[in-house]
């Protein structure tokens, strides 16, 4: 039986573009989704599970067949935001003791490698919703006073700080040349500006 359901509808606004087609990929086995990334042949979903009844996991969905593979590993506890390439999925993960790490998952073998993030570099940051970025051979992770950079080849971690970054970064995006981020311009106010 097909794992897909096809529904074709128009966008609500008559002014909006096109008439999209919606395809449901059911039976992913995900209980509490906490991150999503698409790259190459796969979509990756991180899943917090169901407390002690079902451990956290990361699910790989083949976009052609809908087939799913579950990544379960001793390093995976509460996985969240994902950045993915054709070769690896990079997933932020925290333990129940709020210790963060970056997990690298091989797209083919699903083997998991853990990159430790020091408590000082991740203090006060919640990566459940904030993005990490894959660009220029690095994974970029917003930190409390700068941006953490993890080499995708050596897995060496470093933190870039600047006097322009006076507090936790909000959103981070990348283009071909630069990383762009929202940073607080005042520790006393809610003003944010883009910085490259």
């Amino acid at each position: 039986m097909s794992a897909f359901a096809f529904v074709s509808l128009s966008v609500t606004s008559a002014r909006a573009q096109g008439a999209p087609t919606f395809t449901a990929y059911s039976h992913t086995g995900v209980a509490t989704p906490s991150g999503l990334a698409a790259a190459g042949k796969y979509v990756w979903i991180s899943d917090w599970g169901r407390g002690f009844k079902k451990r956290g996991q990361i699910v790989r969905v083949d976009i052609s067949t809908g087939a799913t593979r579950t990544v379960s590993n001793r390093f995976i506890s509460l996985p969240s935001v994902i950045a993915a390439s054709d070769r690896y999925a990079w997933v932020m993960n925290k333990t129940y003791k709020e210790v963060w790490s970056l997990l690298r998952i091989d797209t083919t073998t699903l083997s998991v490698t853990r990159v430790k993030i020091s408590a000082a570099e991740s203090a006060g940051i919640g990566y459940e919703g904030d993005p990490i970025v894959l660009a220029g051979g690095y994974v970029w992770i917003p930190g409390p006073q700068g941006i953490i950079r993890v080499s995708t080849s050596t897995l060496v971690t470093s933190t870039i700080k600047s006097r322009l970054i006076a507090g936790p970064l909000f959103h981070v995006v990348a283009d071909a040349h630069y990383l762009w981020m929202n940073v607080p311009v005042s520790s006393n106010g809610p003003l944010y500006t883009s910085w490259r």
Binding site: A5, V7, L9, S10, V11, T12, S13, R15, A16, Q17, G18, P20, T21, F22, T23, A24, Y25, S26, T28, V30, A31, T32, P33, G35, L36, A37, A38, A39, G40, V43, I45, V61, I63, V81, E128, G129, P131, H171, V173, D175, W180, S194, R196
Partner: protein, 107 residues
Amino acid sequence: MWVQNKRGIQKVNPSTGAVTTIEVPGDAQITIPVNGQPAVANGIIYFCAGLVAQSHTGVVGIGIHTGIAGIVSSPLIYQAHFVSAANGFAWVVNYPVPGKPLLVRIS
């Protein structure tokens, strides 16, 4: 560069600093981003947003070239949590049935 803020979606030219504001449907509560980053597929920016009148979250799409925004509507899109994109498709994880998260492809 596209910036999501209280004024709507703003298109910023990093070279000149020129800013163009695109209004989004009044029902879309974009000042309270739901989760994760927007995604781009086939010339459309997708992001999750609270839909005030409908008391749930959904997906808003904006045509990059048209500058027109609309709510992406389908029975399969309800309580949208995350959106991503690759290979011309957008992907949404949401809850059209309570307690049963569903992965949906938009093409």
